[in-house]
C-alpha cells in the first residue's frame, strides 16, 4: 500500500466514527476492508481512479450519515426520498418547535454579532453578511420543520430561507432607515416596529405558503405570519421597556438571555400559527 492509499485508509477509518454506533459495530470492519480493496484497485489504475474513488466516498458520506442516523433514531427504514416526501407529524407542533428553536438560535447569534461589532472585531460588511446568512439559516430551519411535518421539506426549507432573508433583510433595513429619519416619539417607533414586523411575518408566511402550495395557501399563511410576528414584536418591545424600567441597565448576558427566551416563545407562537395555516387538508371525494 503506497502512502496516499495508507493515508486515505486512515482518513476513512476516522470518518467511520461519524456513523451511528450500531451501524459502525455491525459493519465497521467490513467497510474498512472493502474500502482498502477499492483503494488498492484504484491505485493500480492510476491517480485519477484513486481520486475518483476517494471523491465518491466523500460525496456519498453526508446522505449515508443522514440515512443511517434517521434509521437509528426513528427505528425504521428511511431513505432520502421518504425523509423529504412524507408527512411526519402535527405541523402545529413541528412549526412551533422549529421556528421557536430557530428564533432562539437567531437571538443568541444576533447578540454575539452585536457585541462583536461593538468591540470593533467584525467589519460592518461582514456583520451584514453574517446577519443575512443567519436569517437564511433561521428561515431554512423553520421551513424544514414545517416541511418535515407536511411532506414538503424539499420545497419549504429553501422557501423558508428565501422568505426570511427577504422579510427580515428588507424590513429591518427599512426600520433602521426610518428610525434614523423619523421623529423619535416612542409610540411612533413602537407602531413602526410592530407594523414592519407584521409585514415581515406576512412576507415570510406568503413565501412559505406560495412556494409550497401556490395561491391556495398564500393568503392564510401570510395572515398567520403577519399577525404572529406583529404580536411578537409588540411583546418584545414591551418586555424591553419593562426590563429597563424594572432592573435598569442590565448586563448583556441577562438581557441576551431574556430576549432569547422571548424569541423562543414568540417563534413558537408564529410557528404554530404557520403550521396551522399550512397543515395538510383532507380532500373530500364524492
Amino acid at each position: 500500500m503506497n502512502r496516499a492509499a495508507f493515508l486515505a485508509s486512515q482518513a476513512y477509518a476516522a470518518l467511520l466514527r461519524l456513523y451511528p454506533p450500531s451501524f459502525r459495530h455491525e459493519f465497521g470492519d467490513e467497510l474498512q476492508i472493502v474500502f482498502a480493496a477499492a483503494v488498492a484497485d484504484a491505485t493500480a489504475q492510476g491517480r485519477l481512479a484513486f481520486a475518483m474513488t476517494c471523491g465518491r466516498e466523500l460525496r456519498d458520506l453526508a446522505p449515508a450519515l443522514v440515512r443511517e442516523y434517521a434509521a437509528h433514531w426513528f427505528r425504521k427504514d428511511v431513505t432520502m426520498q421518504t425523509l423529504t416526501a412524507k408527512s411526519h407529524g402535527n405541523p402545529v407542533l413541528w412549526g412551533a418547535l422549529g421556528l421557536g428553536l430557530a428564533m432562539g438560535l437567531k437571538y443568541v447569534a444576533t447578540t454575539w454579532l452585536s457585541w462583536s461589532t461593538r468591540g470593533g472585531v467584525l467589519s460592518p460588511l461582514l456583520t451584514a453578511t453574517l446577519t443575512l446568512l443567519l436569517y437564511a439559516l433561521t428561515g431554512a430551519l423553520a421551513g424544514l420543520s414545517l416541511g418535515w411535518a407536511t411532506g414538503k421539506a424539499r420545497a419549504l426549507a429553501p422557501a423558508g430561507a428565501l422568505g426570511f432573508v427577504l422579510a427580515l433583510g428588507v424590513s429591518r433595513g427599512t426600520y433602521t432607515a426610518l428610525a434614523a429619519w423619523a421623529p423619535t416619539a416612542d409610540w411612533i417607533i413602537l407602531l413602526a416596529a410592530v407594523f414592519i414586523s407584521a409585514l415581515c411575518g406576512a412576507v415570510f408566511g406568503a413565501v412559505l405558503g406560495g412556494i409550497g402550495w401556490g395561491r391556495e395557501r398564500l393568503g392564510w399563511a401570510a395572515l398567520a405570519g403577519g399577525v404572529t410576528f406583529g404580536i411578537g414584536e409588540l411583546s418584545g418591545r414591551l418586555l424591553q421597556s419593562w426590563i429597563f424600567v424594572r432592573f435598569g441597565q442590565q448586563t448583556p448576558w441577562s438581557t441576551g438571555l431574556a430576549f432569547t427566551l422571548f424569541g423562543v416563545m414568540s417563534g413558537a407562537l408564529a410557528g404554530a400559527a404557520l403550521g396551522w395555516a399550512l397543515r395538510p387538508r383532507r380532500v373530500a371525494i364524492s
Binding site: 459493519f27 470492519d29 467497510l31 476492508i33 472493502v34 480493496a37 466516498e57 456519498d60 458520506l61 440515512r67
Partner: protein
Amino acid sequence: MISDIQTLLPLTEATFFVLLSLAPAPRHGYAIMKDVQGLSAGRIVLSTGTLYGILKRLLEQGWIERLESDQPDETGRPRKEYQLTALGRQILTAELDRLQTLVTAAQQRMAGVEA
C-alpha cells in the same frame, strides 16, 4: 403472498442490482460492489456507505442473509458473505416480471408506431 410482494415494488435501481448480483451465488461486499458496476455497464458505482446501507436494510427486511465464509479476510477473521433468502429471490423474480411486462408493452407499442 403475490399481492404482498407487489406492494414492495418497484425496487430502486441500486437495490435491484445488489439483489441481482447475489442471485447466482453468495458474495462478499467488495465482490458485490464490482459486480454491480459490471452489471450496470459502469453506470452505477456504489460507495461503501451506500452499499452497506442497502445491505443493512435488506438484512433487516429478511431479503438477504449473512454467511461466514471458510476463507479468512485481511484481518484473519472469517470473511462475511451475503446470499439471497427465499423471500429475496421471490421479490427479485417479481421485479423482473414487472420489468418484463413494461418492456413487452413498450416494444408492442413501438412496433405499432414504426409499422
